[in-house]
């Protein structure tokens, strides 16, 4: 609808734009209705948080918060609920995901925005984003039937050849931390790459042209002008990817082996906070302590993602602020 084709309210003559209280009613209703909706959403999320805390109360009463987090025996049948294997698994797989995924995501973002021919820019973007469309259960399916068997011999060779490196040597099981971390790395590619792409695209062309004018090669220009400028935003994108990796359940539980122990090497089985909830909720239906332990695991997971996302937001905000500050003097100079 074009501006200017709007009929005045109620079809009355536009002489008097004063509206009667009756005519103001719809607006009032709208305001109240939508405000109530927004308030309702806050109330829901608040209730959500409170409920999680309340329901996890029993386990903290029984075992104590610190004990829950730092004991390493998770044996529900014996009433032992130590979350160390779960935390370790979550952190290890997420770390692997970051180490493997972020460089590739940033490289793809760099290539798409700076280096690739204009024609393939769009299809390439779509292809990377399509990775986000694959459901996590399909990642798990593919990981279970394709990655695990195919990677087995390679992992075996790697563990044997580099057995002097800590956490590499030793026995190799089919499902293990590494495969889980690899799948997570693939899953965080789209989001980290998308954010990095956005940030890299906002680098002012003056910076880039200045570098090139000084005789820098293409790569040197990227290294001098693009990356330092985009660093904060890229870190934010990496943090958002981390948040995703921490919370991923289904793909991980299918390829990590679900063993409530801390493996000695990258190529051994493990467990994560998210996977334990998915696997044990059925068995915990009538055991309040077990249920509370799982909810506590969910709470820890929630808090972790909260913290990581907050850090991500801080990075991105700082990068945006820096961009705005950097842009003004440059614009002044160009004028």
């Amino acid at each position: 609808m074009e501006a200017g084709t709007i009929t005045p309210a109620g079809g009355r003559s536009s002489e008097s734009l004063q509206r009667s209280p009756a005519a103001r009613l719809p607006d009032r209703l709208l305001r109240w209705g939508l405000t109530a909706l927004a308030g309702g959403v806050i109330a829901l999320i608040g209730y959500f948080f409170v409920k999680l805390i309340v329901e996890s109360e029993p386990i903290f009463q029984k075992v104590g918060f610190l004990d829950f987090l730092f004991t390493s025996d998770w044996v529900p049948s014996k009433g032992l609920y130590g979350a160390v294997p779960l935390l370790a698994g979550t952190l290890i797989t997420s770390a692997i995901a970051l180490v493997l995924g972020v460089p590739v995501a940033v490289a793809a973002a760099l290539y798409i925005t700076e280096l690739c021919p204009r024609r393939i820019r769009s299809p390439l973007t779509v292809l990377v984003e399509l990775l986000a469309a694959v459901p996590s259960v399909v990642y798990g399916l593919w990981g279970f039937f394709f990655l695990i068997p195919k990677l087995g011999p390679a992992e075996r060779w790697f563990a044997d050849t580099f057995s002097f490196v800590p956490f590499v040597g030793g026995s190799v099981t089919g499902p293990n931390y590494f495969v889980a971390g690899l799948i997570l790395a693939i899953m965080i590619l789209p989001i980290t790459s998308a954010i990095s792409r956005e940030v890299i695209a906002t680098v002012p062309s003056e910076h880039k042209e200045a570098a090139l004018a000084l005789g820098a090669t293409r790569w040197e220009m990227i290294r001098m002008a693009v990356i330092p400028y985009a660093r904060g935003g890229i870190a934010g994108g990496a943090m958002l990817g981390l948040g995703r990796a921490i919370g991923e359940t289904i793909a991980v539980t299918l390829v990590i082996g679900n063993a409530p122990t801390v493996g000695h090497s990258l190529f051994q089985q493990g467990y994560t906070l998210a996977a334990v909830i998915a696997n044990e909720f059925g068995e915990a239906a009538s055991d309040p302590t077990h249920r509370a332990a799982l909810i506590a695991a969910g709470l820890v997971l929630f808090v972790l993602t909260l913290v990581v996302n907050a850090i991500a937001r801080a990075f991105v905000l700082r990068a945006e602020r820096g961009q705005r500050a950097a842009r003004t003097p440059a614009a002044g100079m160009a004028a």
Binding site: A3, G33, L52, V128, R218
Partner: protein, 290 residues
């Protein structure tokens, strides 16, 4: 203009440049390899199972005979995601409208925005767990596992996505449009309904489609809430099958026929999600606002 004679770039720097750019290109290729492999594997394993029969027969749950098809799973996904959408979209768009048109920069709006942001980061399994304790174990509605409870979990997942993307699009609607409408004496609700929303519609639809695509692929919330059954049912107060849950149930099965069913279901699900995603992108590209 004096000709600036820059010293020629040294061979070392030129080599470093070529190597670095090659490496970046290589890593980009690496980023594409998983997609190619997944699609290839999906087609290779799944194409043989899919077909009209596969899509229109229920799983039999029989150990001996034929494993059947995935009809109940497809319909279950459509029903549950549809119900979730029917609730999440009005609420989400409503909150977005409130944020942009009514709340603007107030402190309450900041709080709402923050809470929505928090919700975006919550792992889907925590939503499932929440619905499990509040609705399933408590037996709300006279049933334990029920499809509508699955929809609640999916709706919670979709809400922040819809709100966020709707808010972004609504913010892109030029203020001049709004001001012109107000200047002509239109009441607020009219401005929103007849000016802002129609302009933002493609963007909102994009956001909704992406949220649907995301919800259709979620497994974790459904495990806790809708469970898995074989028969087709439209009774939302009963357990209902769904594509992700069916796939999850059949991974790791030793019987090849059941694994085949999982691949066929995976191919179907990915096709559905891909269609939604591509549709969303097409609409987004054609929108005036992006």
């Amino acid at each position: 203009m004096s000709a600036l004679a820059l010293p020629p770039t040294s061979a070392r720097r030129r080599r470093a440049d070529r190597v670095a750019r090659g490496l970046v290109a290589l890593l980009t290729l690496v980023a594409l390899v998983p997609l190619v492999l997944i699609v290839y594997y999906l087609l290779k394993q799944g194409l043989s199972s899919i077909g009209l029969d596969f899509w229109t027969t229920d799983p039999t749950g029989s150990f001996l005979g034929s494993p059947g098809g995935i009809k109940s799973a497809i319909l279950g996904t459509i029903v549950m995601v549809g119900l979730a959408t029917a609730v999440a979209v009005p609420v989400g768009v409503g909150v977005a409208i409130w944020l942009v048109e009514l709340g603007r920069a107030s402190r309450f709006a900041h709080a709402v925005r923050y809470f929505i942001d928090v919700m975006t980061g919550v792992p889907s399994i925590v939503f499932g767990l929440f619905v499990y304790i509040t609705l399933v174990l408590a037996g709300v509605g006279g049933s334990s596992f029920a499809a509508w409870k699955g929809s609640v979990a999916l709706g919670l997942l979709m809400l922040p996505i819809v709100t966020r993307s709707a808010e972004v699009v609504l913010l892109l609607v030029p203020d001049t449009l709004r001001e012109a409408a107000y200047a002509l004496g239109a009441p607020r609700w009219r401005v929103i309904a007849r000016v802002v929303l129609p302009t933002a519609l493609p963007g909102i639809v994009t956001g909704v489609l992406l949220a649907i695509a995301r919800a259709a692929g979620e497994t974790a919330p459904l495990l806790f809430t809708a469970a898995v059954v074989n028969d087709t049912t439209f009774n939302v107060n009963n357990r209902m099958n769904s594509l992700p849950a069916l796939i999850f149930q059949n991974v790791g099965q030793a019987q090849d026929r059941l694994v085949q069913m999982a691949w066929g279901a995976a191919l179907t699900l990915v096709a559905m999600v891909l269609v939604l995603t591509l549709l969303a992108r097409m609409i987004q590209r054609r929108s005036r606002l992006s």
